[in-house]
């Protein structure tokens, strides 16, 4: 049990670190390009950075589901699946209620 908790902690920590590092790098590079006027490349990098940032917690939830399933902890598989569904629902809500900036 203890080793499994340590394993989950390690994977969760790793996914968060990778996500925040790559998104920060993309955002920093995008910001530099935006200042030097390369708008197309800048926009691509900035949007990629924001998307990676938004996907990092989603990836962390996915990894938790896999790890809890491996431990056969079905109660927590179910709970983390609910969290994933809620995150998907917010993406759906964003598309349905699509309005422009006031």
């Amino acid at each position: 049990m203890t080793t499994d908790v340590a394993r989950l902690e390690r994977f969760v920590g790793l996914s968060l670190r990778i996500g925040v590092t790559t998104s920060s790098a993309a955002l920093a590079l995008g910001l530099v390009l935006a200042i030097f006027g390369d708008d197309v490349a800048a926009a691509a990098l900035l949007n990629a950075g924001v998307l990676i940032l938004l996907l990092t917690p989603v990836a962390r939830v996915l990894i938790s589901i896999i790890e809890y399933a491996r431990e056969r902890d079905w109660m927590f598989v179910a709970l983390t699946c609910v969290v994933l569904v809620e995150l998907m629902a917010s993406a759906v809500a964003a598309l349905i209620f699509n309005r422009q900036v006031k």
Partner: protein, 276 residues
């Protein structure tokens, strides 16, 4: 919406450094300082300010939790259970934020900030009870090494329904107002649910990544998140909170809290005036 210029991005970067630094010193995300600055001082629409702040919340949550993930101070099981409630609250808040008037949001922000200020003043000298390290921690409790007492401390979770309700409300306010929501969860988990302050703060910081994502996705889908400004704020807050955490060890936290309460009350008054 002001025009996006390198000057505006630079100002937001610097604001992020300050918000993140102050947040790091006080154990907050910094959104509570960033949102009013972007909305009141720079004139960004409230949803744009909240959206930028939420991206900084995700970044702070991810980097802080990655750094803390080895020493078991984050209660993963409790965090993932409470996320069910906090993400539901956040989803609902993100949808309602699109339907209610900006003045309503500003009044709500004013109220929330006043509550935080009063709570900070009331908890100036609060300390924690340390429990027997050998006791049974139950299904959701935890055990970790606490630096202050140089010992392994353990705790049980009490009043779980209350923790779920607090998480739901925190998630709701998070996406409505662009803050992390730790300011609501941490005191509840600490004062009523039996969690030591460090574990409560670490678990809350872990959860707010998911909370803020549920809210930020909605703003992003609506085109209310300006990526270049979010980039400036995220990088600023990352730098600031790193600084705040590293240099904050010897800071006079008590006086910082008094200062923070004062700043927050000023922010509350400004929000109420703006919303009139």
């Amino acid at each position: 919406m002001p025009t996006v210029t390198p000057a505006l991005a630079s100002i937001i970067f610097v604001a992020g450094v300050f918000a993140g630094g102050l947040g790091g010193l006080l154990g907050l995300g910094g959104g509570i300082f960033l949102v009013p600055f972007l909305n009141l001082a720079l004139g960004l629409p409230f949803p744009a300010a909240a959206a930028i702040s939420l991206t900084t919340v995700i970044a702070t949550s991810s980097s802080v939790s990655a750094a803390r993930s080895k020493n078991q101070v984050i209660n993963l099981r409790l965090g993932m259970l409470l996320e069910v409630a906090t993400a539901a609250g956040s989803l609902l808040g993100g949808v309602t934020a699109q339907l209610v008037a900006t003045t309503t949001l500003q009044r709500l922000f004013g109220l929330a900030v006043t509550a935080v200020a009063l709570m900070t003043m009331a908890r100036l000298n609060r300390r924690n009870v340390i429990l027997d390290p050998t006791m049974d921690t139950g299904l959701l409790g935890g055990r970790f090494f606490e630096n202050e007492s140089r010992a392994v401390v353990s705790y049980r979770i009490k009043r779980l329904p209350l923790a779920l309700v607090a998480s739901f409300i925190a998630g709701n306010l998070s996406s409505l107002l662009g803050i992390g929501g730790g300011i609501i969860k941490v005191p509840v988990l600490n004062a009523w649910c039996g969690m030591p302050l460090r574990a409560a703060a670490a678990t809350s910081a872990f959860m707010i990544g998911v909370t803020a994502t549920a809210g930020a996705v909605i703003y992003y889908g609506h085109g209310q998140l300006v990526p270049v400004l979010a980039a400036a704020a995220v990088l600023g807050v990352q730098l600031g909170s790193w600084g705040g955490l590293h240099f904050g060890v010897h800071a006079p936290v008590k006086w910082l809290k008094v200062l923070m309460a004062f700043v927050l009350l000023v922010v509350a008054v400004m929000m109420f005036i703006k919303a009139r």
